[in-house]
Symmetry: C2
Subunit: 131 residues, 2 copies
Amino acid sequence: MIGIVIVSHSEMIAEGLKEYAEGINKNKIKIIAAGGADDGRIGTNTLKIIEAIEEIFDGNQILIMVDLGSAVLSTEMAIDMLDDEIKEKITIIDAPLIEGTITAVRMAQEIDDVDKIISKVMEVREHKKLI
Amino acid sequence: MIGIVIVSHSEMIAEGLKEYAEGINKNKIKIIAAGGADDGRIGTNTLKIIEAIEEIFDGNQILIMVDLGSAVLSTEMAIDMLDDEIKEKITIIDAPLIEGTITAVRMAQEIDDVDKIISKVMEVREHKKLI
């Protein structure tokens, strides 16, 4: 099953987004939160990201959704430290965190093709919220 | 002082984003969270949004940051029910929730001109996270 790892500076954001996403997930995708620094404060934590990836990995693709700045850096550091077998299955998605994650989970309910899901998520930044 | 209202389907996302944003706010902007349905479950709540706007309003501009779908609708319904004096000071920002809010707060540390802040926040959707 495709996995999504949510990397945010805030543990509450990551956990809240996981809850929000699980509400529309009919067991089609695995979702795990990796938010906050190791003491639960604002920040990102490479070790927490590594553990989340290893927990969710089952041989299938993993998408990593990130918020800002050091979330990307910590994720890249985490990936560097993983086994090649896992590493090659990971894609960091360059999309808005909340909007991208919800779109990925919605798409995964309908399609299994990870490249198509990623391409839909990449379109999210163009979506208008106000009509 | 300019106010920011965070409207999310998730109370945890809204509260987490407020905490994240307050971490970079040197008392230059007021931030309030209005997340989740009235029972704390996933959803949006017009009354909660009205109360947040009224609590933060001090005669200055208010920016409302939203996540997806009904967050916009509930915010528009909330604005409809407010006094004209407040209504005319409100702008719903069409930008990614986390990335837009953090950018708004960052900008507000340096500039007071709300139109310039909005214009910077509107550019956020073009920002690349991966280099």
